[in-house]
Structure formats: C-alpha cells, structure tokens
C-alpha cells in the first residue's frame, strides 16, 4: 500500500458538478493519468471534453470500466442500482468503486446487492460540497478544498480500497470523516435535505401567486440567499427524498412543529414569545458560525 498512489484510469459515471470537480481536482494534483467520463447525453460529455475534465467520453458504462482503477459513481442516487448492476460483470478484480451520493444507507444496500463480489472494494462516500449549479459546466477543481468528505465503510470494505479513496479525496484538498451510514443519513436529513425541501417550498409558495413577478421584483438579498439552493437539480433531490424518506420526514415534523410555535405566537400577539424564539435562533446561528 503506497502512501500516495497515483490512479491510472479513473472512470467518472455522471460528469456533473460532483464528478467533474473530482476529476478536475485529481488532474490538477497530478494524481490521475487518464479520465473517462460516462453519461447519458452527448451534450454534457462534449462540454466535459472541451473543459478537459475528461480525456474520453462514453455512453457505455460497462465498456468504460473494463480497465478502470477507480470508478466514481456520481449520478443521482436513484440511478445507482441500474448502473451498479450494469458495471459489476465488467469491473476488473482490482478496481475500487466509490460514490458521491447524498444518502448512504440506500447506496450501501444497493452496492451490497448489485456489486456482488466487488462489494469489499466499494467505499461509500459523500463529499460535503456543492453549489446550486449542476452539469459539467458547473465543475471546478477547487470545489472540495477544505471541505469534509464523509465515508461510511462497511465491515467487508478492504483497507486498500479505503486508503485509495481517502488519498484521492485528500489530493482534492478535502478532509475525510468516518461515520456510520445511519448516522450520516440522520445528520444530512437535518442539515441539508430539510433546508432544500424548505427552500423549494418557499419559492413555490411565492411563484404560484398571480403577482409572483412583482413579488420577486421587490425581493432583496434575504430571500435570494434563503432560496439559493432551490436552484439545485430536481432529479437529484427527488432521489434524495426517496432514499432518505424516514429521516427526512422526522426532521420535517420538527420543523413544522417549530413553525406552528411561531404561528401561535403571531396569532395570539405574544411578542415576548416571538422575541424569545428569534433570540434562540439568532444565538444558535451565531455560535455555529463562530465555530465554523
């Protein structure tokens, strides 16, 4: 096991913000020799080739992985089972597979089922980085600099596979944090999936009104920042909501309870209660930012 292994051939399946930035970062760090990008549409792959994110484009995942050293699954999590089943018969016996999915329990279960004998070389991972933009055009080499990448290795996961994935992410400038898959999903339901659902709902509440155009015209930085993440990929978020359904519904309950508490205080004109609620939130947010 070398401390700083160079990856011969990286195959990125799904060359979007996450997959594209991973390839760019490893290229910038000279940690990879050759990158094949796999996608569903030629248009995005052509953009990725032009941006030199990938050296070769393919729409056939099975064929692309036959000589891969590392495979990154960077599609929306709903496509994981199909892609895993498709590549499993063609993966070479040394290839390490990892993913960038926003949920981990479901991805681990899919991998266990569909990667078969390759499962010990699958390292479940989730880079905590992103923007509201998607597609290859949104990718950039420094996306992961200073960011956390959560890995949720399983009892079967080999040390070599973990080491290769750890080092790759470190070469992208990221820090590795290990969590249990269940804990990962509970945490990100709260700090990521809930805020996205809230932002989408907030935009829709305004956008459905007949005066929506006027409303947005009068909005300022507050609304703009609050709903920035409502620009995120609908397909990706559809899959996350399905994959992390139970954890997400639990935190949605908590949020709706909070909203009811505020509503009651507004309805009854309880200024002291409102000020207390807002002060509680401000203090928590400010403390959090200070530590950040």
């Amino acid at each position: 096991m070398r401390a700083n292994p160079k990856i011969g051939k990286l195959v990125v399946i799904g060359v979007g913000l996450i997959g594209g930035s991973f390839a760019l970062a490893l290229k910038k760090a000279k940690a990879v020799k050759y990158v094949t990008g796999v996608g569903r549409t030629r248009k995005n792959l052509t953009a990725a080739l032009k941006m030199r994110i990938i050296d070769e484009a393919s729409t056939d995942a099975a064929q692309a992985v036959v000589d891969a050293d590392l495979v990154l699954l960077a599609m929306p999590v709903g496509q994981m089972p199909e892609v895993m089943a498709r590549i499993a018969p063609h993966l070479p016996p040394h290839a390490v597979v990892t993913d960038g999915g926003s949920t981990k329990q479901d991805v681990v279960a899919y991998a266990r089922r569909f990667l078969g004998a390759h499962f010990p070389r699958f390292v479940p991972a989730h880079p905590i980085a992103g923007t509201e933009h998607s597609g290859a055009a949104a990718a950039f080499a420094d996306l992961y600099r200073g960011k956390n990448v959560i890995i949720t290795p399983q009892p079967e996961t080999t040390a070599r596979a973990q080491q290769l994935v750890r080092v790759a992410w470190q070469r992208c400038g990221a820090r590795i944090v290990r969590l249990a898959a269940q804990e990962h999903d509970a945490i990100f339901a709260a700090v990521s999936h809930l805020p996205h659902v809230v932002a989408f709902a907030l935009v829709n509440a305004l956008a459905r009104r007949t005066d929506a155009k006027k409303l947005f015209g009068f909005s300022a930085g507050g609304l703009r920042d609050t709903v920035r993440i409502a620009g995120s990929s609908p397909e990706m978020w559809r899959d996350i909501c399905a994959a992390n359904r139970n954890e997400l519904l639990a935190v949605l309950d908590d949020f709706e309870d909070e909203l009811e508490t505020v509503r009651s205080a507004i309805e009854s004109g309880d200024g002291a209660a409102l000020e207390h609620l807002f002060e509680h939130a401000r203090t928590a947010r400010n403390k959090w930012l200070k530590r950040d």
Copy 2:
C-alpha cells in the same frame, strides 16, 4: 423647492444598520450638515460617534428634534407610537419626518394619530436593504446604493416633504418606488417577513436537538445561506410580526400548504410529483435571478 436641497440638521432616532447607514451615506454625499443621533443606550451612541456616523449623541428625542430639518425614525416599529408622541410637541413647523420601518400600514396609522399637525410632513418609507447584522457598528455608507426605497405617501403628504425625502434617498444611491401602504405590506409579508420566520424556525428545529453541535459542524454552504437572515434583530422581527400579522399569517398558510404538498409526495413515494415541484421552484428562482 430646490432640486437638490441640502439638509441642515438630520436627527436619526435609532442609530443602527438602517439609520446609521442613512447618515453615513448623506455625509458621504455632502447632503447633510449636522447629524444628531438619538438612542436608548450610551454604548451604541458612543460607537456611532467614534465611527463619525453622528456628530452629536442624545438620549432625549424631544430635545434633539427642536431644530431638526429632517427626522428619520429608524427604531423597531413597535417603538414608533411612543417616539412619535414624544417628539410631536417639539418638532419645528418646517421639519420633515420619515421612517425606515419594514411595515407601512401600522406606521402610517401611528403617525396619523401621534404626529398630529405634523402628519402632512411625514413621508412613510422603507429602504429595501439590510444585512443580518444590527447596531451602529454594522452601518456603512454604501448600503443603499442601487437599492429600492419604497415610499407610501398619503393624500395629506405635502409635495415638499416628499421631494426632500426622495432627494435624500437618491443622494444615498437609492431608487424611489411609490406603493400603497397596503400593497407594500402584502408584498413584503411574502418576500421578506415569511423568509425570516422560516429561517428562524429552521434554525430552532436543529438547535433544539441534543446533537445540535454535531449537526452544525457537518453543515455546509446550503444551510448557512438559507439561515443567514436568522441572525437578524429579534426585537425588530418581533415588532414586524405584530405589525403585519394578517398579511404574514396569510403567506404562512400558503407556505404550509406547499410544505404539505411536498410532505405528501415524500410519504407516498411519488417521485414524479416531487421532481415536478422542485423543477417548478427551480425554474421560478432562475427566471427571477435572471431578471434581477
């Protein structure tokens, strides 16, 4: 009526982000000769003096306004009635009064009642600018550059008073937009008051958990932006919720309906419905940003 009147003495009651930035902007534009700041606590006024936001500090609003040319009421809207009643007997007959309150129907009603004979020289206004910070230390001269300032003049409001307030805001770099007070309150309930309430509730939903510290430690830019405005002044937002109660409850209803629609789709595993909802939000947000 001069096109570009210079204000002799400006009195800012409430030297925070809004009032302090107004004074700084007018000073920078050389549109004011002398600024007196009025506040409840010496500490904030001392900071304002040090930052040269104001030339003189006072804790006595009545005494400060006796030779004022323009008075800006920049306290939380809940304090308006008391301050208006306090200054009315002492305002000189030429003085123009304006405010920076986030709600307008209530402020107009207070002014009509408490400013008495001075009401025709009161120009209700709301600068659409701000940050999540508050207090004199947060003030800066360019806060209003390129921003909208809504004015909601009444039938009685004199042309001279409107002109003086218009020009003052224009010298701060702002654009003036005229609206009816009712329309203003309905619009800002949707694009400002609702997002603030949502951001406060979202932080509280996470902050109340026993694992809150860990949660925040794993959060990324998405949550940070979504709850930025939860750092805003609790006292100010308490007053806005009280002042714009009915409009706010109406948009809170719309938002809770949207949230229920998303929740149902998550519960029933309706991926197509979820993707449609998220796509609707993304399209609306992106269109809005494009126009912005």
